[in-house]
């Protein structure tokens, strides 16, 4: 009771001061209040963090359960909704189903020209871009996309054939939609507002963690059920990005190999899943990033020689993210591959010999689930 009385009435004889014990109570109390009100957001952040100790997520979930039961999380949710943050648990397949339902409803309206919605069996047709009429290129993904996307926008814009937009979100992927829901973001923001002709999208770095399904089932990272679920999510995003009029191409670079001390592994398996899903979708082109960021034995390398013979550091010091040079390499590779679908012969710029990997490096015809020796 005396503690409560102190909290409610205490006044110090020296203005602006409190006894240390009361300060401790005030600080701890404020932290508890904010922890409970922010519990959902804290849980989302904890789930999204790579290599987060499991106990942290367990504690965050317990706190969120208590806060939910007490109804304390609604103020924070209201703020998040007002700020348009997508923290929905909708799966990629649910978002896709919504998109298709919306499209079907639009087509049923009187006077609306019908457009095919089934998966096209032919590759998309894109117009030849010019400086006056460039293609809209949108590049997005997780933090690895930051440097790569920055370089891709720079390089593609320099050709005079693209108008680029970069949209990366740190710590995101397809495994924890409650942290950042990529399918929802693509369906609600990117496709209707940007309507890109070319989508370049890259995930994987943050996805090597357990998947928690809506019914609470935990799929252990890289287990067979996990692989099936991850493949479903990748496939649904690819389907989501398909243009109903078949005039959008999706470039899907797989994640690069990660350095041996990064603690990030399984990128070979994720690459394999991406490749498998892309194979059956003509509007998706898989880019085999792995071979350009590894040696002849497909092992991670920080430095590699360029086509001009210059040894270049392709990764940042963390051996996860790409350096500017690494991003430039991948950008020119993506543009080169894109040239198979679009006439890019009018490009105003060409890569220098040190902006691209040696021509001897070839993408694999089959991307296996495991690369011997890779982490």
């Amino acid at each position: 009771m005396s503690v409560l009385r102190s909290l409610l009435r205490s006044r110090s004889s020296r203005p602006g001061t409190l006894p240390a014990g009361l300060v401790l109570l005030v600080v701890a109390g404020a932290l508890v209040v904010s922890m409970l009100v922010n519990a959902d957001a804290t849980l989302r952040n904890s789930q999204a963090k790579r290599n987060n100790a499991p106990w942290r997520t367990t504690v965050a979930r317990d706190v969120a359960d208590v806060a939910d039961a007490l109804g304390l999380t609604s103020p924070r949710r209201a703020i998040d909704d007002a700020m348009g943050r997508h923290s929905s648990n909708l799966t990629a397949e649910q978002v896709l189903a919504r998109q298709r339902a919306g499209l079907a409803a639009t087509q049923k309206r009187p006077g609306h020209a019908s457009t095919p919605t089934t998966a096209a069996s032919v590759v998309p047709h894109l117009r030849t871009p010019t400086p006056a009429d460039p293609l809209k290129l949108w590049v997005g993904g997780d933090s690895v996309t930051e440097t790569f996307g920055t370089q891709l926008v720079r390089v593609s814009t320099s050709t005079g054939q693209f108008q680029g937009t970069l949209d990366f979100h740190v710590g995101t992927g397809l495994v924890v939609p409650s942290y950042f829901n990529w399918p929802l973001h693509l369906a609600q923001d990117v496709l209707p507002k940007v309507d890109p002709d070319v989508v370049v999208i890259m995930f994987g770095t943050n996805d090597g963690q357990n998947i928690r399904l809506a019914d609470g089932t935990i799929l252990t990272a890289f287990s067979q059920p996990w692989q099936d679920e991850y493949a479903r999510r990748v496939g649904a995003v690819m389907d989501l990005l398909k243009s109903p009029t078949n005039n959008r191409i999706v470039m899907w670079p797989g994640p690069p190999p990660m350095g041996p001390t990064t603690g990030t592994h399984g990128m070979d398996l994720i690459s394999h899943i991406d490749w498998m899903e892309a194979r059956t979708r003509p509007w998706v082109h898989y880019v085999d990033t792995w071979v350009y960021f590894s040696d002849a034995h497909l092992q991670f390398q920080h430095y590699l020689p360029s086509a001009g013979g210059q040894l270049s550091g392709l990764r940042q010091k963390d051996d996860i993210h790409m350096s500017d040079i690494g991003g430039t390499w991948l950008s020119w590779i993506v543009l080169r591959d894109l040239g198979r679908y679009v006439d890019l012969s009018g490009s105003r710029t060409r890569p220098g010999p040190n902006d691209i990997p040696p021509t001897s490096v070839k993408e694999r015809t089959v991307v296996p689930p495991h690369v011997p020796g890779a982490i």
Binding site: L7, R11, G16, L18, A30
Partner: protein, 479 residues
Amino acid sequence: MLFPTIDFAIFFLIVFSGSWLLRPHRTSWCLFILASSIYFYGYWDWRLVPLLLGTVVVNWAFGRAVHASLGPDAAKTVRSRTLVALAVVVDLGVLGYFKYASFFVDTAAERLADLGIHVGDPALSIVLPIGISFFTFQAISYVIDIGRGVWTRPVPLLDFAVYLTFFAHLVAGPIVRASEFIPQLDSQPDPRFVRSSEAFVLILRGLFKKVVISSYMATVADPVFNLPALHSRWAVLWGIWAYAIQIYADFSGYTDIAIGIALLLGIRFPQNFDAPYRALSFQDFWRRWHMTLSRWLRDYLYIPLGGNRGRDGFVYRNLMLTMVIGGLWHGANWTFVIWGFIHGCALVSERVVKQRWARRPAPLGLPTWLVHALQWFVTFQVVCLAWVFFRAPNFSDAMAVLGRLFHGGGGSGLVTPLLMFTVVAMVVSQFVPSRIPERITEGFGHLAPALQMAALGIGLVLVDALGPAGIAPFIYYQF
């Protein structure tokens, strides 16, 4: 461990409790704070702890040796001067190795590769110990102060270790002097009167500046500096101003939190920012921006170089050298040198103009407010110009950003009313009289503790909700 994280909050609650329980027992308190600070530093990378402790031991030993070599009445001797110089060389050598060796090795490897000589994997990726620039400068100031006779006796090793490693200022300042910190170890702050309201307001203000303002400004400044060619001159202009606000909010936000945390532990740090963007001159700016670095450079570089004594040309040289070296302190990049050079030129030009102005027989006849407005405008814009070089990764990128100001057409969705409002509001906030925040602090102090708790809790919720998910490290951590 970043300040705005749950990990730090838990760490701080433990340290706060232990600190006040042990405060009456000086040695125990020092040992506890030292252990806490080492844990705080090692949380990033334990391999760097020996470097920190090595800096403590070496500089403490130098301090003792310098003190022992002083003459009667603490007069300087040849030996004391030599030892001080040696300490500075050792400190700067270590600092230089960690900050600049990677740069030189990589540059050499690139030049050799250009000549067709491949030196293999130049993987001399030296980890930059966080906060090394800050604690090295503090250590240097201690040894020099002993050499100058500021200290009548050498400081005990434990006191010196606590001073140099104290976690609240360890990684990004303020650059506290031993003469400001160590006497506070001897005082016994009364645990019944912790200066909580000032600390709470500082911490909340710092969190808001860092998590909300700085993060938001980054969403505009980053795209502009990464890809200037994609943005109109209008967007680039706002991007530069946004960066000016970003770095201020980031660094002063960090400092506010650091000062607040120290205050809760009964330690007072010197002020580091005083509304720098209200400065009417460059000299004024440097009296308000990173004040503890400014006075360090003044006392340990500018004045030893000769300061204001001597001919004009000599003074200009000293100013220029001080600013360029101050620029280099931030890192091995020509952009930092140019940043320092711009400030050096600005300070020199200002002196020249002032001297000539003083010789004018009659004033210009302009109203004072207009003169002040012009002075503010010129100062702010030149400071922003210098920030372009500070932010850009290299000279050509900086020129690309500046080039867009003259040749940038087209539209850009970056400039929104919210951005313009935030930038303008942050600049206007610099002109708010200091009595207003003081009254807010006083008002906060008059609240019952339960209300203070509620206000703090709501403040933390809002900061977390308005900021992005995941907090970027403080910009000055890299220095």
